[in-house]
């Protein structure tokens, strides 16, 4: 009996120790950025936690690097493309969930944008956008990210729509609703949580996207990831500025990610694994 108890406690403690080590590693980059962003200039390169915290790097980022501009770009582009892809994707997902041929190949083709290497369609986009005058514009980026997100919206929402029992819609149809009314008034409200989760995931992936952002933007439509990259290429590793912008950039995605963590795996696998 006693031995069992010892074993139990040993198991408990060792599990927490292992998990603690992994947690520290998982949190390392963000914590490091947070601490460094609060260090005064003279302390930046020292391994020490004894310093007087300062907000100088945050003020610098806003005053010296026009951070607001890129932050605004990121918000505008991510939000618009999320909304647009929901508007386009929801009806498509509904149609695919309710069509006679539920396993139609069409749905599977939508996966191609998720599976294909982005560089494969970014080179044509780059060449086309230059000719069309869409290079380095908000509209161009919104169009591109909407296409990126459509596959996600269609596949995730198709799953959520399939979870809505047919009988509920059926009775609405019998009561005289048109198909469209049944969709808008019955199915959409029933899946509102799924829609929110899908929207958040679209926003998150767009916010973090980097390859398209550096290929297709110059100055005007630059988003936060490609702005932060400039700390490496242009600003000669201003550690304080880099860390301050990192913290501000990551806070929204971390908050969203943790709030909607139930749906994260589902989103990353296009609905194949229901987390």
């Amino acid at each position: 009996m006693n031995r069992n108890l010892v074993y139990k406690y040993f198991k408990k403690i060792s599990r927490h120790c292992v998990l603690l080590v992994f947690s520290i590693i998982a949190l390392y980059p963000f914590t490091w950025a947070l601490i460094t962003s609060l260090k005064p200039r003279a302390e930046l390169f020292r391994f020490s936690l004894l310093f007087k915290p300062t907000l100088i790097h945050y003020m610098d980022v806003f005053s010296r690097y026009s951070f607001w501009l890129y932050f605004g770009n990121s918000v505008i582009i991510s939000l618009s493309s999320t909304i647009l892809s929901l508007l386009l994707g929801l009806p498509a997902a509904y149609a695919l969930a309710r069509s006679e041929q539920k396993r139609s190949g069409i749905a599977f083709y939508f996966l191609s944008t998720r599976m294909a290497p982005p560089i494969a369609f970014l080179i044509p986009y780059f060449l086309m956008y230059i000719k069309l005058g869409l290079f380095d514009t908000h509209v161009g980026m919104i169009i591109l990210y909407t296409l990126f997100n459509l596959a996600l919206v269609i596949w995730l929402m198709r799953g959520f729509f399939l979870d809505v029992p047919l009988e509920i819609e059926g009775s609405a149809l019998i009561d005289g609703c048109s198909r469209w009314q049944a969709f808008v008034r019955i199915t959409l409200p029933l899946t509102s949580y799924g829609i929110a989760a899908t929207g958040v995931l679209c926003f998150l992936f767009t916010w973090n996207e980097f390859l398209a952002a550096i290929i297709l933007t110059g100055r005007n439509a630059k988003t936060l990831p490609s702005f932060i990259y400039m700390f490496l290429s242009t600003f000669q590793l201003d550690w304080g500025g880099l860390c301050a912008s990192t913290v501000i950039t990551c806070i929204p995605v971390l908050a969203f990610g943790i709030l909607f963590r139930k749906f994260l795996v589902r989103g990353l696998t296009m609905g194949a694994v229901k987390g």
């Binding site: 494969a120 080179i123 390859l211 932060i228 990259y229 550690w239 943790i258 696998t269 194949a272 229901k274």
Partner: protein, 246 residues
């Protein structure tokens, strides 16, 4: 004016371009190394987290952080961490009397450094997916295995792993395809260097277009890359289909 070039670009790629073959090899090594490590660590963590205990939710929330943190920022911060003079990695190593290498500026260790960061980023994905799978397993099977006197290892090998197989296949499918296309982290950490030692296919295509401005050649490479990924996709996709159409 563009000139018609026939299949010349493809001939050069296959017969006259050692960097292409090298980058293909690097991509394969990267994918194999990263995905294998992620699976071992991810499965280990998923099994640790498979029981209910106090604080579990906190650990799960912490695991989300690498997954959703903007990859460019985490790549840059890891790059600073691997810095030989100011970085934390070698500082920690020096505490236990090991002189760390100049990680990202040495041909041998640069790829390891990039793999470490990919593992850091994606292990939680495997853990969370496998946790989802583990929690959905029917408890009756375990009970009857226990009644039959199976050891823990036998239960794991003959019950847990086969039942998890659909999820393992789908998750490795996404991980393999995605690490084939790795870009952000390599771009900010090493830019494919030193030399070509971390130039994956994706990086190589990027360089041919935006550093060497060979539009035709990069398009030919892209075409081949797309074909390769498509075939990989078709080859792996039956299980994904079964899981998606469920």
């Amino acid at each position: 004016m563009p000139v018609f070039y026939g299949l010349e670009n493809f001939r050069v790629i296959f017969f006259d371009d050692p960097i292409f073959w090298k980058s293909l090899g690097i991509t394969l090594v990267f994918t194999a190394g990263a995905v294998a490590t992620e699976f071992s660590l991810g499965l280990f963590l998923a099994l640790l987290l498979n029981e209910e205990f106090r604080g579990k939710n906190v650990y799960v929330a912490i695991l989300i952080v690498p997954l959703v943190m903007t990859p460019v920022t985490s790549g840059l911060i890891w790059r600073l961490a691997f810095d030989p003079d100011f970085g934390s990695v070698n500082y920690l190593l020096s505490l236990i009397n090991i002189t760390g290498p100049n990680w990202l500026n040495t041909a041998g260790t640069a790829l390891i450094g990039v793999i470490i960061v990919d593992v850091w980023q994606w292990t939680p994905f495997i853990t969370l997916s496998l946790m989802a799978g583990l929690s959905a397993l029917p408890s009756e099977v375990y009970e009857s295995a226990e009644v039959d006197g199976a050891s823990k290892w036998q239960v794991f090998r003959n019950v847990t792993v086969p039942l998890l197989m659909p999820i393992i296949v789908v998750v490795s499918f996404f991980r393999i395809l995605d690490s084939f296309k790795i870009f952000d982290i390599i771009f900010v950490m090493t830019r494919g260097g030193p030399g070509d030692s971390t130039t994956t296919l994706n990086m190589y295509i990027y360089k041919t277009l935006f550093q060497f401005h060979h539009v035709g050649y990069s398009s030919a490479l892209t075409f081949l890359f797309l074909m390769a990924v498509t075939y990989l996709f078709l080859f792996l996709s039956n299980r994904l289909k079964a899981q998606l159409w469920k």
